[in-house]
């Protein structure tokens, strides 16, 4: 399909409000690499993917900006709105790049070139000198993206020839098409290069069947792009308005159960309507409104779930959390209107669960439970442990909020093995204590046989053997054995955050074992080996 792509170069930098002649770079992602840089910075050798320090070394006075995807998208909305006057079927590929099919507008504006000039003028007008807008037209979305980079109009049928001389590294730009991740494409491009396929023309010359056999679906997609074709239509199907289902509750429902009962009928109706159209819905907005006009609207992903069941569950969680939640947000009246709005609708291709690996039934069940609890308690209250390196027992594992709807048990949320297995001098050797003190560690008095307080010298040696301890002013326990101290000198380079501490293990006559920590001359109970 013939497509027009408008591209604003270095959009993250432009969106941050940096003047065109200023050297600036946007840094973000894992490891803090350069995501985008201004033309002035590029002239001094700054490139995408450089480490922050390297970029600073190449260009002195480089202004570093933190990546702000939300802000970029917000700032781009003005440009997208201006270009939407050309065609309503506009699609934002990512902030900085939009695509629209040219068939109608091109005829209206008398040709692709006139349309291109018009689009560029609209873009430049909105940007008002803060940035540029380049426009290209070609057959196929991928070819159009590259045409926009060059700012050219490729004649109909000329996309394959236009793409042929590009190096395979240009496949990286296809990440904005949304079907393949950037990492997947980079790996594929690397593989092509090693196999001796240097240009997109080389790839396009291979038989599609062989590409499919060797590289799978990704290979088929790449072959399609390189021939100047599309692997999907360039605009998502806008859901027709009649798919929204509404129910008015009269009298308003005071109890969640009553509202959930109505939601069940609504969800069934929505499921039937979608099924009649042969479609499925991957994102739904559930809106509830009370008789006093308070509204609660929340979006839910329903991909890979049985729609009607999932919707009833989610409606119930949402209403449960709202009506029975904390007092501040609780509605004052009964629920009067319930609305289910499908936001992403696409053809129903069915769902195939993985045979080996992938999400199992247990993972699905757990993910549902997590989503339900998050509806009940709020997203922060449901956590999953994450391994992290550290010296103290409490530092080695931290709790992070679980992601709603995503099977939580993927290894990606865990820190690298290198971080966990790093030496951490001063770390208490395993076994780890099974009970930690939360919040404030209770103070402990540690006395030696003569009744004098035990301290640790600057060289990390205990002044005497502990003989008895008392936790938080409680009764005294005789220490039968002890070990340590393990001195820790952390963050000595930072005046504010530095701390010198020492830990000892004590075993009491009662059979209990504790981990005590000395901080600023005071002992405290850090953990118990229960």
């Amino acid at each position: 399909m013939r497509t027009l792509v408008a591209w604003c170069p270095d959009w993250p930098v432009v969106a941050a409000g940096v003047a065109l002649d200023q050297a600036a770079a946007v840094v973000g992602g894992a490891g803090g690499r350069v995501l985008a840089c201004s033309a002035a910075a590029r002239a001094q050798g700054v490139r995408r993917g450089l480490r922050r320090r390297e970029a600073e070394a190449r260009c002195t006075g480089l202004r570093m900006l933190a990546a702000n995807p939300d802000g970029e998208a917000r700032a781009f909305e003005a440009v997208a709105a201006a270009l939407a006057s050309l065609s309503p079927r506009l699609e934002v590929l990512r902030p900085g790049t939009v695509a629209l099919p040219t068939r109608g507008p091109s005829r209206y504006f008398r040709g692709d070139r006139a349309l291109t000039d018009r689009a560029a003028a609209l873009g430049e007008e909105v940007l008002a000198g803060r940035g540029h807008c380049q426009v290209g037209v070609a057959d196929g979305l991928f070819a159009a993206v590259l045409a926009a980079r060059r700012g050219v109009v490729v004649e109909p049928g000329g996309s394959a020839a236009f793409l042929a001389p590009f190096p395979v590294a240009a496949l990286d730009l296809a990440a904005s098409l949304g079907t393949s991740s950037s990492a997947e494409l980079a790996e594929l491009a690397n593989l092509f290069r090693r196999l001796g396929l240097r240009t997109l023309g080389d790839v396009a010359a291979l038989p599609a069947a062989q590409l499919a056999g060797r590289f799978g679906p990704a290979g088929v997609r790449v072959a399609t792009w390189c021939r100047g074709l599309d692997d999907r239509p360039p605009h998502p199907r806008v859901p027709p308005p009649d798919l929204t289902v509404v129910a008015e509750l009269d009298p308003p429902a005071d109890r969640v159960e009553a509202a959930a009962f109505v939601a069940r009928a609504l969800a069934t109706e929505l499921g039937e309507r979608l099924a009649a159209a042969g479609q499925t819905c991957t994102r739904v907005r559930i809106e509830a409104e009370t008789e006093h006009g308070e509204t609660l609207s929340r979006r839910w992903r329903t991909e890979g779930l049985v729609l009607a069941v999932a919707l009833v569950e989610r409606a119930r969680w949402q209403l449960d959390g709202w009506c029975n939640g904390t007092g501040a947000v609780r509605p004052t009246g009964g629920i009067a209107v319930l609305r289910l709005v499908p936001e992403e609708v696409r053809a129903d291709r069915g769902l195939q669960l993985g045979f080996w690996g992938g999400a199992t039934a247990a993972d699905e069940r757990a993910a549902r439970g997590v989503a339900r609890l998050q509806g009940l308690l709020g997203p922060e209250a449901v956590t999953v442990p994450r391994c992290r390196g550290g010296r103290g027992p409490a530092e080695q594992v931290v709790l992070v909020p679980a992601h709603a709807g995503v099977p939580v048990g993927n290894g990606s949320s865990h820190a690298s093995a290198a971080e966990v297995q790093a030496p951490w001098p001063g770390r208490i050797p395993p076994p780890s204590p099974a009970l930690l003190t939360v919040a404030v560690a209770p103070p402990v008095e540690v006395l030696d046989a003569t009744g004098a307080a035990v301290a640790v010298t600057g060289r990390g040696i205990a002044t005497a053997a502990p003989a008895r301890i008392s936790v938080a002013g409680g009764s005294w326990f005789e220490v039968v054995a002890w070990a340590g101290p393990w001195p820790v000198d952390e963050r000595w380079w930072d005046q504010a955050a530095r701390c010198r501490r020492a830990r000892i293990q004590v075993a009491t006559a009662a059979g209990e074992a504790h981990l005590l920590i000395l901080n600023g001359g005071r002992w405290a109970l850090e953990a118990t080996y229960d």
């Binding site: 199992t360 247990a362 069940r365 757990a366 549902r368 439970g369 339900r372 609890l373 009940l376 308690l377 209250a381 449901v382 956590t383 999953v384 442990p385 391994c387 027992p393 080695q396 594992v397 709790l399 679980a402 939580v408 048990g409 993927n410 949320s413 395993p430 076994p431 780890s432 204590p433 099974a434 009970l435 930690l436 003190t437 939360v438 209770p442 046989a449 040696i461 205990a462 002044t463 005497a464 053997a465 936790v471 938080a472 409680g474 039968v480 054995a481 002890w482 070990a483 340590g484 101290p485 293990q505 075993a507 009662a510 059979g511 209990e512 074992a513 109970l525 850090e526 080996y529 229960d530």
Partner: protein
Amino acid sequence: MALARPRDVEALHQAGEWARPVTLVSEQLLPVLSSLEPLLPDGGLRRGSTVTVDGAPGATTLALALGAAASASGSWVAAVGLPSLGLSAAAELGVALERMVVVTSPPAQAWATVVAALIDSVELVWVGLPRRVAAGDAHRLAARARERGSVLVPLAARGATATWRARGAAWPEPADIRLVVSSTTWAGLGGSGAGRLEARRVEVVATGRGAASRERRVPLWLPGPDGRVLALGAPSAPVLRRFDHLRRDPFDKERGGGSQGVAG
């Protein structure tokens, strides 16, 4: 009425074979570490059962060890109301943290709801009991676990400090299996600060209802010197190193650090 002939009896036995339910008891078990098998009448955690763990220091570790094998073999586990749980200890015992959900402090009025939701979604739940548990709540939760096939492990909630004082509430329901750690001895600490806490010998007493009513006493390494839970006296139990001869500082003698007895 005539006595049944031997052929009829044989046919009846055969019919009984055919009509037997397909699911066997052994298929409804969650696996446990091999050293804990002697504690449980079925050699595993029966799905839907309630197992309380209590006793001298060591209850938390024993509770974590109960879920380790199930978690490692792909089951999901959850901990609720246990803000002081040492998760690195759980990981060392073999609990797969990537399949674990933690709700540290559920609000008091929603406690039963949260526990019920977790029973619905994971296969083993460690439940920290609040100050007071209504008997009705406990009954309903146990029934829910039985229905959903999840194992409920109630633990008297305690911070590390509370071990010194009276414990929280006890589980008001009669549990299917009650595990009590009856004695604890630590090993590995040398005299005058040498060594480290290395291994712990405990004795666990298991009682319960039905098949579990016969009392079982099992001595265990919890954990053993290699970090695993081992049966005491198992041939693989390694000999502990002693640290009595080691001194970390040559000047230590002058301060009269005095050789302490090894704990255990």
